[in-house]
């Protein structure tokens, strides 16, 4: 479902003496449907960079990133927009939403974008928020004022609202208590069972061992003498 080949990336900092910083070279990995692959490597090794290139908000310098039928590395913006609506989900570490929009609508939005009826989308959102132990009295409030752990769970609910065939998870269990961590790991296992291809970053080793079928160490793709 996800197939990365010979991927490289560098940053050119035009306003800092045009420094060119190579951050990745020759990256390659595949994630099959129903499989969860964990990215490992120390902080700064390029786990998030690789994830962002798959999502398409970082440009690849060379190589290919196939997600389903689309090569994200060379696709037109509108192909990536469609891919993100239908096929590829992303749970980032930070929630970014329009202020003052109720939590329930934040979670329902990916479904509304797919044309799902509003009441159906909100029912699905409500079910996920309940499972993730967000109290119902908070659903009508904007998540911008929530605690870090609550925002993280809203973000997860939003990421799991639609049954994406491919999912990117950036530290989905960070800042969660044991009970909520368990809910998230179960959601991941359910997504795998329905055939989702998942690429994730988990610093939590117990969580990683439980849901990941394989791990890929991104240090192998860090350019030497960078």
């Amino acid at each position: 479902m996800i197939e990365i080949r010979n991927l490289s990336k560098s940053f050119t900092l035009h306003n800092q003496g045009s420094a060119v910083i190579p951050v990745m070279a020759g990256a390659a990995l595949t994630v099959a449907s129903g499989e969860c692959v964990g990215l490992i490597g120390n902080s700064g090794a390029g786990k998030s960079t690789l994830m962002r290139m798959v999502w398409g908000n970082y440009l690849a310098a060379s190589g290919s990133i196939r997600v389903g039928e689309v090569d994200v590395a060379s696709a037109e913006p509108r192909q990536i927009i469609r891919l993100r609506r239908d096929t590829l989900g992303y749970v980032s570490q930070f929630l970014r939403v329009v202020p003052r929009v109720p939590t329930l609508d934040v979670v329902a939005e990916p479904l509304l974008n797919l044309g799902v009826q509003a009441d159906q989308a909100r029912n699905r959102a409500a079910a996920l928020l309940s499972r993730l132990n967000i109290p119902e009295r908070l659903w009508s409030l904007s998540p911008t004022t929530f605690s870090g752990g609550e925002q993280q769970r809203v973000n997860i609910a939003r990421g799991f609202a639609h049954a994406y065939p491919a999912l990117l998870l950036d530290e989905p269990t960070a800042s969660l208590d044991a009970a909520n961590r368990e809910v998230v790991l179960t959601l991941i296992e359910e997504a795998k069972a329905r055939g989702a291809a998942i690429l994730g970053i988990f610093h939590d080793e117990v969580a990683r061992d439980r849901v990941c079928d394989r791990v890929v160490d991104v240090r192998a793709y860090t350019p030497k003498a960078a």
Binding site: H14, N57, L59, P77, R78, I80, R96, V98, V101, L112
Partner: protein
């Protein structure tokens, strides 16, 4: 033809194509060699500092100003047409039906001496609606959609707050079901809490009506939340364009890097 019984555009055919558009003020560049395609349902943000040419470009796109060179092709009900070379009457009809233009200052887009309901109804009458009851019902419906209370329908916009005036301007523009909306700093001049509400409203309308929109702004936070794609202008030239979060998170051009790194973190 009315605005209400049109065929749905094909999502794989551009709704709007701009090719090699330039506008000069004497020897000074307004905007130079701008090209892009916009597809149905897409929102394009145009950012840049004052004087970058973004407002000139929007005026040329919307037919308020004639470009010196270039083509601005719109997929009309009769097929793609160059709006630069079409007759004035035809372009005006397009501006009343398939297009809409939301001004930064609501006073430029509203009739301040006419009631809120009249402001919305007037657009409908301009495309041929005549039945008073229907017009009033539709105006009422739209005032509700932009969250203006029904008991304010007979009030004039000058009795409204800035945020309400802007929402009224949006209702007036969208009541005829346009396919392409031009917006010039739609949230400029509004305080941030009102801005947020307006952003949410615009996002909902874009989704429900399948609108395409071109939004000029200098506010990167606004485009991040509203635009699918982004175009960065400097000195009349497009220096970078792409997916909005890609341009903001991994800017390639020196100017975009400067622009993004200059934003204060809240």
């Amino acid at each position: 033809m009315t605005a209400f019984d049109r065929k749905l555009p094909s999502p794989d055919r551009p709704l709007f194509q701009v090719q090699g558009l330039s506008k000069y003020y004497g020897s000074r560049i307004g905007c130079a060699d701008v090209s892009f395609d916009l597809y149905p349902g897409e929102v394009l943000g145009i950012v840049g500092e004052s004087g970058s040419g973004k407002s000139t470009l929007l005026s040329c796109l919307a037919g308020h100003m004639a470009p010196d060179t270039g083509r601005v092709i719109f997929d009309t009900a009769e097929g793609p047409r160059d709006t630069v070379t079409m007759g004035e009457a035809e372009r005006r009809r397009l501006a009343r039906t398939d297009w809409a233009y939301v001004h930064q200052n609501p006073r430029d887009g509203l009739r301040m001496g006419v009631s809120a309901g009249g402001n919305v109804g007037e657009r409908l009458m301009a495309v041929g609606a005549r039945h008073y009851g229907n017009i009033r019902d539709k105006a009422n419906d739209w005032l509700g959609r932009v969250e203006i209370a029904a008991d304010r329908i007979d009030d004039r916009p000058r009795a409204f707050s800035g945020g309400m005036q802007q929402r009224l301007q949006i209702a007036r523009n969208l009541v005829t079901g346009p396919r392409l909306v031009f917006m010039d700093e739609p949230t400029g001049g509004l305080d941030v809490s009102v801005q947020a509400r307006l952003l949410d409203l615009l996002r909902g309308l874009v989704r429900e009506m399948g609108l395409s929109a071109i939004i000029v702004t200098h506010d990167l936070a606004v485009v991040r939340l509203l635009a699918d794609r982004l175009m960065v202008m400097k000195g009349g030239h497009v220096v970078e364009q792409g997916l909005t979060d890609q341009v903001l998170d991994d800017p390639q051009h020196a100017y975009t890097q400067l622009l993004v790194s200059s934003v204060l973190q809240v």
